[in-house]
């Protein structure tokens, strides 16, 4: 366990985003209305493409990714009690991006200005935002800096070739060669089928996850895909990769999230007290083999190894971690992933996830709420920003500031992310509020 006095705390969070209509795809039935639109007030907007830099008619008014980052950063610094970020010494900045999602070949280049990081240490971690958080955690723990600013964003509305890019992540020789036009979702189908077969979890409980998360999202102002859906609708939506249906796949959204970390000493100085500080009790991350055919597709081994590391650091006993945890914000890129990750994180025993979901134990008012924010299914899939978004939701919960989403008495949360198809990599963090 990290001794008191040496802990690292989250002192500020910031968010900027907008429910996006451009990315709304055929996967999403038209009757699921978006619950929020934070539109910017601007007088001009033009859009360009790679091939012809010709403005087209603006369909909506949007911020660029740089502007979203600026707004999120400003909010986070204010929350953290940082009056002038430019005057800070011993501060580091970390962004989590992947080049092709950005459309820039070295996306690191375009990060510093809008974060106040000019002529400061800034780096890119080519991974999910939770890895960025862990990077900041290690930098502070090593004694190198006192404050770390972690940013991750999704601006997938800028990306026309989403499917082509996702396919480009597949092994160039073995997998892409099987069928050139293959949709990477086939891997999710393989996993889901094997997972349900090996664990005996029910098909219906996967649909229940969708219904629960989209329902939870109704109370979340950051959610783009909130709705009340019945499991029969989920199960009858078109099959994308058997057994996975279109409504069991989270849909893309735009947002920038900024999280500010500080050493315990610095955190107390910035906040004036320990109020509002959320402590990072443990972190873990892990990668399984990149070979899809060699992996155990039923178990999320990456998640269980990452959780083991994080639980150990947090002093949480491995036999029943759920005793110590009040809520979970875990990856639900696909419906079955939530169940698979619950088991990998030992929030239940293998094969028991279905029962927990069906009994309502993971609902908002259950004893172990899972994804009270609405998760990726309800909020939208934010690619590399997904993990950091979950951190933000957990921080609000642990501060008691989650509004109508509030899980009462939440003191400790587990946050988990997965890097998406075709990877078997992911990270875990254990967060707690001051009085735990």
């Amino acid at each position: 366990m990290i001794p008191k006095g040496e802990r690292i705390g989250i002192v500020g969070v910031g968010y900027a985003g907008l429910a996006d209509t451009k990315v709304r795809s055929a996967q999403e039935p038209s009757h699921t209305a978006s619950s929020t639109t934070n539109t910017a007030s601007a007088s001009t907007n033009t859009t360009t493409t790679t091939t012809t830099p010709t403005p087209t008619a603006a369909t909506s008014i949007r911020y660029s990714y740089k502007e979203l980052m600026f707004l999120a950063a400003r909010m986070a610094y204010e929350d953290a009690g940082i009056v002038d970020v430019r005057s800070k010494d011993r501060i580091s900045f970390i962004c989590s991006t992947e080049d092709f999602w950005e459309g820039n070949m070295i996306s690191d280049e375009y990060m510093p200005d809008q974060l106040g990081a000019v002529l400061r240490p800034l780096c890119t971690v080519a991974a999910d935002g939770l890895y960025g958080l862990i990077t900041g955690f290690m930098q502070i723990r090593s004694g190198l800096v006192d404050v770390a600013v972690v940013e991750a964003h999704s601006k997938l509305s800028d990306v026309v070739s989403k499917k082509e890019i996702a396919r480009f992540a597949l092994d160039p020789v073995y997998v892409r060669g099987i069928y050139p036009e293959i949709d990477p979702y086939f891997i999710a189908g393989l996993e889901m089928n094997r997972f349900l077969y090996e664990t005996g979890n029910s098909r219906e409980s996967c649909a229940k996850v969708v219904s629960k998360n989209k329902g939870n999202a109704l109370a979340n102002p950051r959610a783009c895909y909130a709705s009340s859906v019945d499991i029969s609708l989920v199960l009858s939506s078109p099959i994308v990769a058997y057994p996975l249906t279109s409504m069991e796949i989270s849909s893309y959204a735009d947002a920038s999230i900024v999280v500010v970390l500080a050493s315990e000493h610095k955190a107390r100085m910035l906040k004036g007290s320990t109020d509002g500080i959320v402590w990072i009790d443990g972190v873990g991350w892990c990668s399984d083999t990149p070979w899809i055919n060699d992996r155990n597709l039923a178990d999320a081994l990456y998640a269980s190894l990452a959780a083991e590391m994080a639980y150990k650091m947090a002093g949480i006993e491995m036999d029943e971690p759920s005793k110590y945890i009040d809520l979970a914000e875990i990856d639900d890129t696909f419906s079955y992933k939530e169940l698979q990750h619950m088991e990998a994180l030992r929030l239940c025993r293998k094969g028991e996830a279905s029962r927990l979901v069906e009994d309502g134990c993971t609902a908002m008012d259950g004893y172990m709420p899972v994804n009270p924010s609405g998760g990726s299914l309800g909020v939208g899939y934010l690619v590399e920003a997904t993990g950091l978004h979950r951190v933000l939701e957990a921080v609000l919960q642990l501060r008691g500031m989650a509004g109508s989403m509030q899980v009462h008495g939440a003191r400790r949360a587990v946050v988990q992310s997965w890097r998406g198809l075709p990877t078997a990599s992911g990270a875990v963090a254990i967060l707690s509020s001051n009085d735990s």
Binding site: M105, I106, M111, V118, P121, V125, P172, P290
Partner: protein
């Protein structure tokens, strides 16, 4: 600054650097990583965590290439992260490895850097088109070398430096590379040869620039306790620093690398270095183009502003000089598989400080060394200080 734990380099490895290699990126990672691990006398099972450094995904032709390369880097079943800061990645990845160990989270960390530039056809340069601003610059039909030529011209103009003086760097580094068994472009050339080579983007000429390459390089890092147990000659990482300048590069003064001065200040402060010119015995500075070695010596405070050319012409930066710079042969001589090239510099300082550089060993008794890399839109630098 109180650093939690001391970290040492205990092993290093690399592959040949060549324009095109038969090995895939994964295979090159494996070769460099296993050489680093074996040279430390341990096995991959002793490795607690892995960091990968690699430049744009466009080279390898795989999106999220860190995930694709991870089994070659020995990371299956381990905590694994890819860091990416453009050309600065090769020296930055060991810095990331450093905090894995310095934070107390791990006792050992393997750091692997790889680049497979030959996969991209017709020419790896094409990937760099996408580093420019998509709306304001790419429509002009950009080429990566434009910005370097603009920077070089500005540097020459402000300090009155000639193309001939700059050419000395290429002559020195390509000659040094004759002693490097992995070198791609080792050669004995003259200043006249450089001047006569065809301009690519004037004032940059062919012999002023490093080639595209395939290659990998790796180091194994360990905590103080572990290092003393497994290694006779650990080399300590005593200082790390990195910094980034504005992406609005046309709004900056290009003649002086302010971002490098910042990165160096951070690393010097951590290592307790007050007079770098007296305290640094050997330096591996980033030299993808000949003028960059001079530019970087000035940013590092190892030469006065505008004076690095003078000390180069005077022979001070030769391998047997007072301040040897790029005794490996640098990117100009050994080759430039982007991230692997930066890591090659860290390997070289490890070998120099542990007295294992063979024919490349510098004449003076080297105890403190520095490796530096540079990247993004001419705006990022990473610096590492090592001591034996």
């Amino acid at each position: 600054m109180i650093i939690k734990r001391k970290v040492a380099v205990v092993g290093a490895g690399m592959t040949l650097f060549r324009r095109r290699m038969l090995e895939t990126g994964k295979e090159m990672c494996f070769e460099a990583a296993s050489m680093a691990v074996e040279s430390a006398g341990v096995s991959i099972r002793d490795v607690d965590a892995v960091v990968l450094g690699s430049a744009p995904d466009a080279f390898d032709g795989v999106h999220m290439k860190g995930e694709y390369l991870l089994d070659g880097a020995g990371a299956v079943g381990k905590p694994y992260t890819r860091v990416f800061v453009g050309g600065g990645t090769g020296v930055f990845a060991p810095i990331a490895g450093w905090w894995h160990v310095a934070s107390g989270l791990f006792d050992t960390c393997l750091v692997v850097c790889e680049e497979k530039m030959s996969s991209l056809h017709p020419h790896p340069q094409h990937a760099f088109w996408g580093i420019f601003d998509h709306t304001l610059e790419r429509p002009l039909g950009v080429n990566l070398l434009w910005i370097f030529a603009l920077e070089m011209r500005r540097y020459m103009h402000l300090y009155g430096i000639s193309e001939e003086e700059i050419a000395y760097v290429a002559v020195k580094n390509k000659r040094n590379a004759l002693d490097h068994p992995c070198a791609q472009l080792a050669a004995r050339i003259t200043v006249e040869d450089v001047m006569r080579s065809e301009p690519i983007v004037w004032p940059i000429k062919r012999l002023d620039s490093s080639p595209p390459s395939d290659g990998a390089a790796a180091v194994l890092l360990a905590s103080e306790d572990t290092a003393r147990k497994i290694c006779k000659e650990p080399v300590w990482i005593d200082g790390v620093g990195w910094s980034i300048d504005s992406a609005y590069w046309t709004n900056r003064e290009l003649a002086y690398p302010a971002y490098l001065a910042e990165a160096a200040r951070m690393a010097y402060r951590m290592a307790g270095i007050e007079e770098p010119r007296r305290e640094i015995d050997v330096a591996e500075v980033y030299d993808p183009f000949s003028y960059k070695e001079l530019h970087h010596l000035e940013g590092l405070g190892l030469a006065d502003k505008g004076k690095a050319a003078e000390i180069t012409v005077a022979g001070i930066t030769e391998r047997d000089g007072d301040m040897p710079v790029n005794p490996s042969g640098g990117l100009l001589g050994v080759g430039n598989p982007i991230a692997a090239a930066g890591m090659m510099k860290v390997c070289e300082i490890f070998w120099q400080l542990s007295g294992n550089a063979g024919k490349r060993q510098v004449k003076k008794d080297a105890r403190t060394g520095l490796a530096q890399a540079w990247g993004d839109l001419m705006q990022f630098s990473s610096v590492i200080i090592m001591r034996s």
